[in-house]
C-alpha cells in the first residue's frame, strides 16, 4: 500500500512538472512582444526595455523557468502585465468565486447524478428510466454557455425570478448569493451530472445481475439492504473514477459559465489573460488548474486503493 501511494504521488509530481514545461514553452514561443502590447505603442523603447528587465524577460529561458518555479514555491506567481497587480493578489480575489460556484456544482452533480443513476437502474425500461436517460444524453451534449443563456432568457428576462448576471459573496449577502449562483451552479453541474447518471446506471445494472446479489435476495434480505448495502458498494467503484475525471470538466466549464454570468472568477481571468497575452497569469492559472485536477485524481486513486483491495495488489 505504501509503495502504491508513493508511486502515485511521484507520477502526479511528474505530471505537474510536464504541465509547467508545456505552458512555459507555449508562452515563450508565442509571436509578438507581450510587454509592448500591454504598454501600447506610445511607450518609449527604454521604458519597455526596463519593464522587460523587471519581469526577468531578458534573462535566458532556462533561468526564467527556474525563477518562475522558485517564485511559485514562495507564493510569488508573477505579475500581471495587464492589471499591474501580482497574480497572487488577483487569484486571492478570483479563486473564492470559482470555488463557491464550483464546489456546490460538483456536490449537486454527484448527488443528483448518482441518485438518478440508481433510480434509473432500479426502474430499468420504465418511463422514469427513459426520462433520466434522455436528460443525461441531452445534458452531455449541451454547450454550457448556451444553457446559461437560455436560463437567463427564461428565468431572468422572461419570468423575472432570478438576477441576470453577477456574483455576490456569500458572507456579504447569503440570500443574494444563492439567487445569483443558482443558474451558474446548475450550468456547471450539467455535464458532470450527465456522465455520472449514465455511469451509475450501467454499473448498477451490471452489479444487480450478479450471483451474490441473487444469493442475498435468496437469503431473504430486504430489498433496501440488498441495494444499499451490497450492490451500491461495488457499483460505486467505477463511479468514483468518473468523479475524478469529471473534476477537470467542471473546471473547464467554469470558463464558459463565468463568462455567461459575468462571474469574475479564475475562468474569466484566464480567458482574458489568453486574449491579452498576459504571460504570467496564463502560466500560473494553467498550472494551478492542473494542480487541482491532479490532486483530485490522486485522491480518487488513493480512495480507490482503499475501497478496492484488488487495485492495491495489482498496482502496488
Amino acid at each position: 500500500m505504501i509503495n502504491f501511494i508513493i508511486k502515485r504521488i511521484l507520477i502526479s509530481l511528474l505530471v505537474v512538472f510536464l504541465v509547467s514545461l508545456f505552458v512555459f514553452s507555449i508562452m515563450h514561443i508565442l509571436p509578438g512582444d507581450p510587454v509592448r502590447l500591454a504598454m501600447g505603442f506610445e511607450a518609449t523603447e527604454e521604458d519597455v526595455q526596463r519593464v522587460r528587465e523587471q519581469l526577468n524577460l531578458t534573462k535566458p529561458l532556462v533561468e526564467q523557468y527556474f525563477l518562475w518555479i522558485n517564485g511559485l514555491f514562495h507564493g510569488d506567481f508573477g505579475i500581471s502585465i495587464v492589471y499591474h497587480r501580482t497574480v497572487a493578489d488577483l487569484l486571492k480575489d478570483r479563486l473564492p468565486r470559482t470555488i463557491n460556484i464550483g464546489i456546490p456544482a460538483m456536490i449537486l452533480a454527484i448527488v443528483v447524478g448518482v441518485g438518478s443513476g440508481i433510480i434509473s437502474a432500479l426502474q430499468r425500461g420504465k418511463w422514469v428510466d427513459q426520462g433520466i436517460t434522455l436528460i443525461a444524453t441531452l445534458g452531455a451534449g449541451t454547450p454550457q454557455f448556451w444553457l446559461g443563456i437560455v436560463g437567463i432568457y427564461i428565468f431572468a428576462i422572461g419570468l423575472n425570478l432570478l438576477p441576470m448576471q453577477g456574483y455576490t459573496s456569500p458572507t456579504e449577502d447569503f440570500a443574494l448569493f444563492l439567487k445569483k449562483a443558482l443558474m451558474p451552479v446548475v450550468c456547471m453541474a450539467i455535464v458532470m451530472f450527465a456522465s455520472l447518471a449514465r455511469q451509475t446506471r450501467s454499473s448498477m445494472l451490471e452489479v444487480i445481475n450478479q450471483d451474490y446479489i441473487r444469493t442475498a435476495r435468496a437469503y431473504g434480505i430486504s430489498e433496501a439492504s440488498v441495494i444499499f448495502r451490497h450492490a451500491l458498494k461495488n457499483a460505486l467503484i467505477p463511479v468514483i473514477t468518473i468523479i475524478g475525471i469529471q473534476v477537470r470538466v467542471v473546471i473547464g466549464g467554469s470558463l464558459l459559465v463565468e463568462q455567461v454570468f459575468n462571474v469574475a472568477g479564475i475562468g474569466t481571468l484566464l480567458t482574458a489573460a489568453v486574449s491579452n497575452r498576459d504571460y504570467f497569469v496564463v502560466q500560473s492559472c494553467v498550472l494551478i488548474i492542473s494542480l487541482f485536477t491532479v490532486v483530485a485524481n490522486l485522491t480518487v486513486d488513493l480512495l480507490y486503493g482503499v475501497l478496492d483491495p484488488r487495485i492495491r495488489v495489482s498496482k502496488g
Binding site: A140, F145, I157, S203, L256
Partner: protein, 288 residues
C-alpha cells in the same frame, strides 16, 4: 458460407444499432441535415454570410430572409448554414489529425513499452490534467484564430482518447500467438503494428472518432464563444451566440438558435457513437 457469415454480422449490426430506439434515427437525420447544410450552403442560399444590408437590421423572419437578419443586416439562416460548414471542417480536420497522431503514439507505447512507452503515457497523463477546453485555448494562442490553427489546437486536445485506447488494445493483443508467429517468420515491426495490431482496433476507433467529432464541435464552439477561438466575422456558431447574446432581450433567436444547432449536432454524434459501440462490439460497453 463466408458470405452468409458476413451478411449475418451486417444484419446483426443494423439490428442492434437501430434497435436502440428512435433517438438513433433522429440523430442520423440530424447528422445528415448537418452535413448537407455544410456541403450545400452556397447552393441553398442566395446570400453570403458576410453580406450586410444596413437597411434591414434585425429584420423579422420573412420570405426573403427566412430567419430574419442579425444586428448588421446579415441573413441569419445563411450564417447558420455556413456555421455548419465551419463546424464540419474543424471537427473533421481535428479528429483526423488527432486520430493519426494518437494511434501512432498508442501503437508505439503499447508495443515497445519500456521507457518510450512511459514517456508517451506520462505526457498523455499530463495533458489530461488540463481541461481540454483550456488546453486547446492555450495551444490556440500559437496557431492564431484561423480555422486551420484552431483545428490543430483542438485536435491535439483529442489525442489522449485515441492513444489510451490503442495502448490498452495493443497491450492485451501483442502476446497473442498470431503476433508472436508474425514476428517469428521475420515480419518487421512496422508491418506487425499496422497490419496485425491496428486492424484489431478498428471497432473502438470508429466509436472514438464519432464521439471526437462531437467533442471537437463542442470545444470549437466554446472557444469561439469566449472570443479566443475562430474569430468574428467568421460565422462560427460560437461566435454567433456571443454576438447574439448582446441582443438577448429583444432578439433571443440570434443567440439561442446557433447554440441549439451545436447541441443537436453534438448530441447526435454522441448517440450515434453509443449506438456504434454497442453494435460493433458489445464488450466495449462501459469502457469507451
Amino acid at each position: 458460407m463466408l458470405q452468409n457469415f458476413n451478411t449475418g454480422r451486417v444484419e446483426q449490426f443494423f439490428h442492434v444499432f437501430f434497435g436502440r430506439g428512435i433517438l438513433v434515427q433522429i440523430s442520423l437525420a440530424i447528422i445528415f441535415l448537418f452535413v448537407s447544410a455544410a456541403l450545400l450552403a452556397p447552393v441553398l442560399t442566395p446570400y453570403t454570410p458576410y453580406e450586410q444590408d444596413l437597411t434591414k437590421l434585425f429584420a423579422k423572419p420573412s420570405a426573403e430572409h427566412w430567419l430574419g437578419t442579425d444586428n448588421i443586416g446579415r441573413d441569419f439562416l445563411t450564417r447558420l448554414l455556413y456555421g455548419a460548414q465551419i463546424s464540419l471542417v474543424t471537427s473533421l480536420l481535428s479528429s483526423i489529425w488527432a486520430g493519426m497522431v494518437g494511434i501512432v503514439l498508442g501503437l508505439i507505447a503499447g508495443y515497445f513499452e519500456g521507457w518510450i512507452g512511459s514517456v508517451i503515457m506520462r505526457i498523455i497523463d499530463a495533458q489530461l490534467s488540463i481541461p481540454s477546453l483550456i488546453f486547446s485555448m492555450v495551444l490556440g494562442m500559437v496557431g492564431g484564430q484561423s480555422i486551420i490553427g484552431m483545428s490543430i489546437a483542438i485536435g491535439v486536445g483529442a489525442i489522449p482518447a485515441y492513444t489510451r485506447m490503442v495502448y490498452g488494445m495493443v497491450l492485451s493483443l501483442k502476446n497473442n500467438d498470431y503476433i508472436v508467429a508474425a514476428s517469428l517468420i521475420g515480419q518487421g515491426e512496422t508491418q506487425i503494428l499496422f497490419r496485425h495490431l491496428l486492424p484489431n482496433c478498428f471497432a473502438p476507433l470508429i466509436v472514438i472518432f464519432t464521439m471526437s467529432l462531437g467533442m471537437a464541435i463542442m470545444v470549437e464552439a466554446g472557444l469561439a464563444y469566449l472570443g479566443v477561438g475562430i474569430a468574428a466575422p467568421t460565422p462560427a456558431w460560437g461566435v454567433m451566440v456571443s454576438e447574439g447574446y448582446k441582443y438577448l432581450t429583444l432578439y433571443p433567436r440570434l443567440a439561442i438558435l446557433p447554440g441549439l444547432c451545436v447541441m443537436l449536432v453534438v448530441v447526435a454524434f454522441n448517440v450515434v457513437g453509443d449506438g456504434l459501440r454497442d453494435a460493433l462490439d458489445p464488450r466495449l460497453r462501459g469502457k469507451l
